[in-house]
Point group: none
Chain length 226, copies 4
């Protein structure tokens, strides 16, 4: 049944109806509830199962030579697994709120990943100015990227690109000089997108030409009708 849930969640994601899972498993819905108290618990169990093996993999790489390639290899490996598994994908990309992991599992994953990261950084294979949270976020982004390329290209290509960006030799320093989000930030008058306040010059009213144009058309219409 865990297998059926695994497949169902992998194929359809967290929102797949529980009845579908039961049908896949060839049992009634009630039988699922005999084993897992809620659907959420079942999802957690599936995620935990998947991540236990992911964590194992990370640990098995921790002591090896060539920390850089181990780290990048692990990244690629996780992304590949998530490409074909909607559940892992969601667990990685879930924003705060929904808990997909059993207690402690996410922490273990973070620790194992952090260990790989630090060793790779120590070896000079990963730029020093990224941290665990960067890698976690990048990982989730890579998964989405790969899923969208999945249909028509070699797997891993986009992730390889992203990995390049982590290498110390990459062109740009990560923009540490970019300002923290200001509290009284201004917003586009048309669409409300926050505007990156330029430090000098006339302050922007719109987030781009599109909205500027739209505002212009509105002014014209108002003049005409008024």
């Amino acid at each position: 049944m865990l297998q059926a849930a695994l497949e169902a969640f992998a194929a359809e994601g967290r929102l797949v109806p529980l009845d579908d899972i039961a049908r896949r498993a060839g049992v009634g819905a009630g039988t699922v509830y005999r084993n897992f108290p809620t659907k959420e618990a079942l999802f957690t169990a599936v995620i935990t199962d998947r991540f236990e093996s992911i964590i194992e993999e990370a640990r098995s790489l921790a002591g090896a030579d060539d920390p850089g390639e181990r780290f990048y290899g692990f990244l690629m490996w996780v992304v590949e697994r998530a490409m074909f598994n909607h559940a892992i994908c969601e667990a990685l990309a879930l924003e705060e709120g929904i808990k997909a992991f059993a207690a402690g599992v996410e922490e273990e994953f973070n620790e194992a990943l952090d260990a790989l990261l630090r060793r790779a950084q120590a070896a000079g294979d990963v730029r020093a100015d990224v941290d665990l949270r960067d890698v976690r976020a990048l990982m989730a982004g890579c998964v989405v990227t790969e899923r969208l390329r999945r249909a028509d290209g070699p797997p891993g290509r986009m992730t390889a690109l992203a990995c390049d960006a982590l290498r110390p030799s990459a062109v740009t320093k990560v923009r540490d000089e970019s300002p923290p989000p200001s509290r009284n930030e201004s917003r586009c008058e048309v669409c409300g997108t926050p505007l990156a306040a330029a430090r000098t010059g006339r302050p922007a009213r719109f987030c781009g030409a599109a909205c500027r144009q739209k505002a212009h058309r509105r002014r014209s219409a108002a003049t005409k009708s008024g």
Copy 2:
């Protein structure tokens, strides 16, 4: 009303109840249905509206100098808008199945983006081995990455990283080294993840050390109990 839908979808995503949208708009649910035949059509309308302005922005940049920075700037600009707009985020990341765009809108977007991309490539500012679909996928990935980093860092940091990867000076060229997706691909015996078929040597049975270990433990258990 479109404005209300826009805000609701931006804040809560595609799954926001239609009643919430109607309430935000200060109208009855029936009135929404007078204007849009289904909720999905409303979502499409919202997405189309947003992308019209995005397309306008792209076109306004098409003729400008410095194609590289125009291209990267546009990428960042789209990502920033999606960071605060769940609807754009979903439209960019939506896999096949749900149509978020009105007929032709996605094509227009693709064309405008492709124009920026080609100009930037022609100017030598973007590596030659990426295509439109790569950029589309990367864009969606960046959105997810940024949303996850949103809480605790300057916006755009992760996207800047990813942009680096598109620059010609980046370390790796990946495309033609990775094998084409094999049709009768093998899969990990434990977790079913597709395996990249090694060109030489013994074919892999597992997707990594974790699953190899798991298989080993299973064999041990079977021996003991048998």
Copy 3:
């Protein structure tokens, strides 16, 4: 197993899940069904078991001296047992519909109780105008009363009060003063409660001042809006 059912029903009442009972008994649910055809039959068995012991107690008191105190003592004893036993409580208070007793058991209980009652009445210790059904009903009422006072008072206090009401010296004789339930009884125009038809004078339209007032307000509102 009967012991387990007894405890479970006592603690949680008739609605306790059968699985809980099976778990308490340390057997599978199927085993319960091997012994009792339905859950209801199990409940009946439990109630029967309890009442057998209650009936025994009643009979053991039947021949004794001091019939008044025997009767009142038995009443208190039953109530005390029911206070800590949800199942007995429900069996005593169950209105028509669900049968809690095995065939004949309730009759035996009634006979034993009636014997105590008649002896006590013969001895002048219980007023003559109460019958078995009164006592049965009062018993159930006392159980509810005691359960509600259980938390913060000495047990039996409220039942002692009620017993007072059964003593011949009690103030009121009510039976024949109150009218028989009229068949075509009228009902309160507001809340529908049956109205005791006054024998003389203008027939009541409301069950009390509260509903009269409510009707008045409604008339005012109707006048204002009309």
Copy 4:
């Protein structure tokens, strides 16, 4: 719809399926949820509605002459209403845990009832050693008693009996001298009922003759089989 809920809860109690309520109201189940967020909220609304009128009635009696009869009359009146209304019945008898009342309503009811009680006590019409909680508990008990007598007697008879017990002229002093429930109380070896520990003499092992007999039979059986 409130009317339908009122009738359904009155007839079947808190556990009536919501679909039944909807059917009674002639609407779909969803329509009920448009008006009340949960079934519990609907029950609360019904109870609150009923008790508002009960509270009004109590208040309308508060200033009147003859506080004793007002108090007893109110008691009877409430009991009569609950006799034909399972919902009121449950609200009065509900033990801790489930909240049936909207915030403040139960307190208002208690205050109004307490006012009647105190006035009647001041007038010497109700014995001084009962308090609000006694009356509340007694009220619930009377409801149960009356419901059981409903079928075959004049309504109110049993409650009148119970009221007698509250009058100062009643025979017995309420047992204030009875001991508080002791912490390490002993229990019947057979059925587990708590035993009122006698202050002197040999401590009881059983709650009554019935259980003593049962234990005896068990000993015989053990001897025979051993």
